[in-house]
């Protein structure tokens, strides 16, 4: 592989891992707080739809982003109400959210835009375009460093930078702030938090809202950054992959980033390996397409060992009963 192909693969890796990373970090907040979230997919889908629909109607990408974040937050709140206040089963709440998102986005899309649930193709100004970092052009011709900086690091849309910035921020929040300490504690032993005079419910709501926020970014990335409009079910199971990445990374921010990059890389590689020949025989495209999943299974079985999640995860907190 020459430099161009490598760079292009890595460039795609970054793009493909961005929504995974955002969703994975999103899941990290609520799961660290003891709320299992299999509804990442649904929140992203809601956000993707709201962002594209709003961007298309208002003509403003920022309005689109705001709508995406807003809807995702509201969805998170709904899920939170079910799972935290009403002490409902967290898995059911997530499943319901996923299904609601699939149905509602398409249904409303058809009603509003009459394009089979798709939103209109977004035009210039209605979607995030590539951001050129300072000196990208000037450095482009410097050997090695130049292309890496100007092709790989520069030239992504703003949500990509937000996603990767969210990694150190999340690390700092979780491990260096009062909020993070309480958040982590609430997922491990909510009783200890309660008896320390902190409201478990409030902590969990805050966590779930952050999850909503990050899912909002992830959803917006699909429809108004990487894509140019909403398509039915366009998140295509990424929420579940993000969940897998979260477990893979053992609920830690920096490993989460590397896991998402790995998944993104495997996907980018898959795209580029299609049609490859091994020993003169063309490998079936399905084998290549399954490669990321097969490799994940192998890596998991080979190297990762047991992943133990936050201890209090999955159960609603109640003092009595």
């Amino acid at each position: 592989m020459d430099m161009v192909v490598i760079l292009s693969t890595l460039d795609a890796t970054i793009r493909l891992s961005t929504p995974l990373l955002l969703a994975c970090l999103a899941g990290m907040y609520s799961e660290r707080a003891g709320v299992f979230d299999i509804g990442l997919e649904g929140k992203m889908l809601m956000a993707a739809f709201a962002a594209a629909a709003t961007a298309s109607v208002t003509g403003s990408v920022w309005a689109g982003l705001a709508a995406g974040l807003g809807i995702s937050l509201m969805t998170a709140l709904l899920q939170g109400a079910a799972a935290i206040t009403l002490k409902g089963n967290q898995l059911i709440a997530g499943t319901a959210i996923n299904m609601l998102a699939v149905g509602l986005t398409t249904f409303l899309g058809i009603q509003w835009f009459a394009q089979g649930g798709r939103t209109p193709q977004l035009k210039e100004g209605e979607r995030f375009t590539e951001v050129k970092l300072p000196f990208a052009d000037e450095l482009a011709n410097v050997p090695v460093v130049g292309p890496i900086y100007s092709d790989l690091i520069s030239g992504h849309n703003i949500l990509v930078y937000i996603a990767f910035l969210a990694v150190p921020v999340t690390w700092f929040v979780l491990f260096r702030t009062r909020f993070g300490l309480r958040l982590r504690a609430v997922g491990e032993n909510p009783k200890a938090v309660d008896t320390a005079g902190i409201s478990v419910i409030a902590m969990r709501y805050q966590a779930v809202l952050i999850t909503g926020l990050l899912c909002g970014f992830a959803g917006a990335f699909f429809s108004i950054a990487q894509g140019s409009g909403f398509g039915n079910n366009m998140t295509a199971g990424k929420g579940f992959i993000a969940l897998a990445a979260l477990i893979f990374a053992k609920w830690k921010p920096v490993p989460a980033m590397f896991t998402c990059l790995l998944f993104g890389f495997l996907d980018a590689l898959q795209i580029r390996l299609q049609g490859v020949e091994v020993g003169g025989v063309q490998v079936p495209v399905q084998a290549i397409q399954a490669l990321p999943y097969v490799l994940t299974v192998i890596l998991l079985a080979g190297f990762i060992g047991k992943a133990v999640g936050p201890k209090a995860g999955g159960v609603a907190y109640s003092k009595e009963r």
């Binding site: 002490k87 059911i92 579940f240 079936p284 998991l300």
Partner: protein, 366 residues
């Protein structure tokens, strides 16, 4: 403020879910109303569509059959503390076993093929559950991740096998050859005119047997005891000397085998050939079915009927009220899951107050 008493059993099992179901339909009705359609007409269309005639009931039962299997698959695993998200993949890949047996035995009477097809579906689906089980038991891989991955791997394998190995030349559609007419299992409509022209078939009976079997397995066998023990407290099972890894592998195999029965219903019972994506996310619906049915076979039966009815009724909805597309049905299903599953606590305190208030008021009155 005095402590609230727990609800009487009947209120817990019947009244509360009914209230929640009503609420789900009210909210869905609001959505329907908001787009200018008549919610009552829609409700009528769904109910008639699901139960209006033998034809409708037949299809409702046909969809329910799938959901019983996937619901049981999730529930059996859940009792052992395992979350099997892989129902889709297990149900899908099991079709390979079913179609190979069915094609090989197509000149024989169907009742000879049926049990073999069941075994083949169970074996292949079971294998697809066993591997994640094995990886969790022996390698510590999380079964949730592995089963998600196995769903994707299954669809890749299926498309390759169907298109490249099973598809007879000369047809465009990616599907296997059809089972010879004389080897096909008749549908129930052949015997019960009521169900004429519907897809409900003998697999429904298999599903009912599986429900009863699961009930006995979970609560009346030694293995079921061990399995539930593992689900509740893996340290205690280690203490008790049950082999956690063995139980995990067996349970995941059983779970996969149950999901694999969807293939029997779809491939051997209805389509008579292997098509792509015949599972249609029944595996995911199974999660909701199991959770709403509280992992109890009776609950699963009821939840599967509910979802079968919603599926079929919703399907009919778009014929009756063209403005209400199939997505509306998904919305209704989601609301049902949300209100009867996740938000079931919404009215509990109010009901409890009602029930505890009742006798107290009577006492002070008398």
């Amino acid at each position: 403020m005095s402590a609230l008493k727990p609800l009487p059993r009947w209120a817990d099992i019947i009244l509360l879910p009914l209230i929640n179901l009503t609420l789900a339909f009210i909210v869905a009705g609001l959505v329907v109303f908001a787009i200018g359609q008549n919610p009552l007409a829609a409700l009528d269309a769904i109910i008639t569509g699901a139960f209006g005639s033998g034809y409708n009931i037949g299809y409702t039962l046909y969809y329910s059959t799938n959901f019983i299997f996937t619901g049981l698959a999730v529930a059996v695993a859940a009792h052992a503390g395992l979350f099997n998200i892989g129902g889709n993949g297990q149900a899908y890949i099991a079709g390979l076993g079913v179609i190979l047996v069915a094609l090989a035995m197509q000149s024989l009477p169907w009742w000879l093929t049926f049990p073999v097809a069941i075994l083949a579906g169970a074996a292949v689906g079971g294998f697809w559950g066993f591997v994640p089980g094995y990886l969790q038991a022996k390698r510590g891989s999380h079964v949730v991740i592995t089963t998600i991955m196995f769903n994707f791997i299954a669809s890749a394998i299926m498309i390759y096998v169907v298109v490249n190995l099973l598809k007879p030349p000369g047809i465009l559609a990616p599907e296997s050859a059809s089972i010879a007419v004389e080897g096909r299992m008749p549908k129930l409509g052949t015997f019960i005119p009521w169900f004429k022209n519907t897809d409900v078939n003998f697999t429904l009976i298999l599903a009912l047997i599986c429900l009863v079997g699961a009930y006995f397995l979970i609560w009346h066998t030694r293995f079921g005891f061990a399995m539930r023990a593992l689900g509740q407290n893996p340290t205690a099972t280690r203490y008790a000397g049950m082999s956690n890894s063995r139980i995990t592998m067996i349970v995941m195999t059983m779970s996969g085998a149950l999901a694999g029965m969807v293939a029997v219903n779809q491939v051997f019972g209805v389509q008579y050939r292997l098509v792509l994506d015949y599972v249609a996310d029944a595996g995911f619906v199974g999660i909701a079915v199991a959770l709403m049915g509280r992992n109890h076979p009776l609950g699963i039966l009821l939840a599967a009927l509910l979802f079968g009815a919603l599926y079929q009724g919703g399907n009919e909805l778009q014929y009756v009220i063209p403005g209400l597309s199939k997505e509306m049905v998904v919305v209704i299903q989601a609301l049902v899951i949300l209100f009867t599953g996740a938000m079931e606590g919404l009215f509990r305190p109010a009901l409890q107050r009602l029930f505890s208030g009742g006798p107290a008021a009577a006492r002070s009155g008398g």
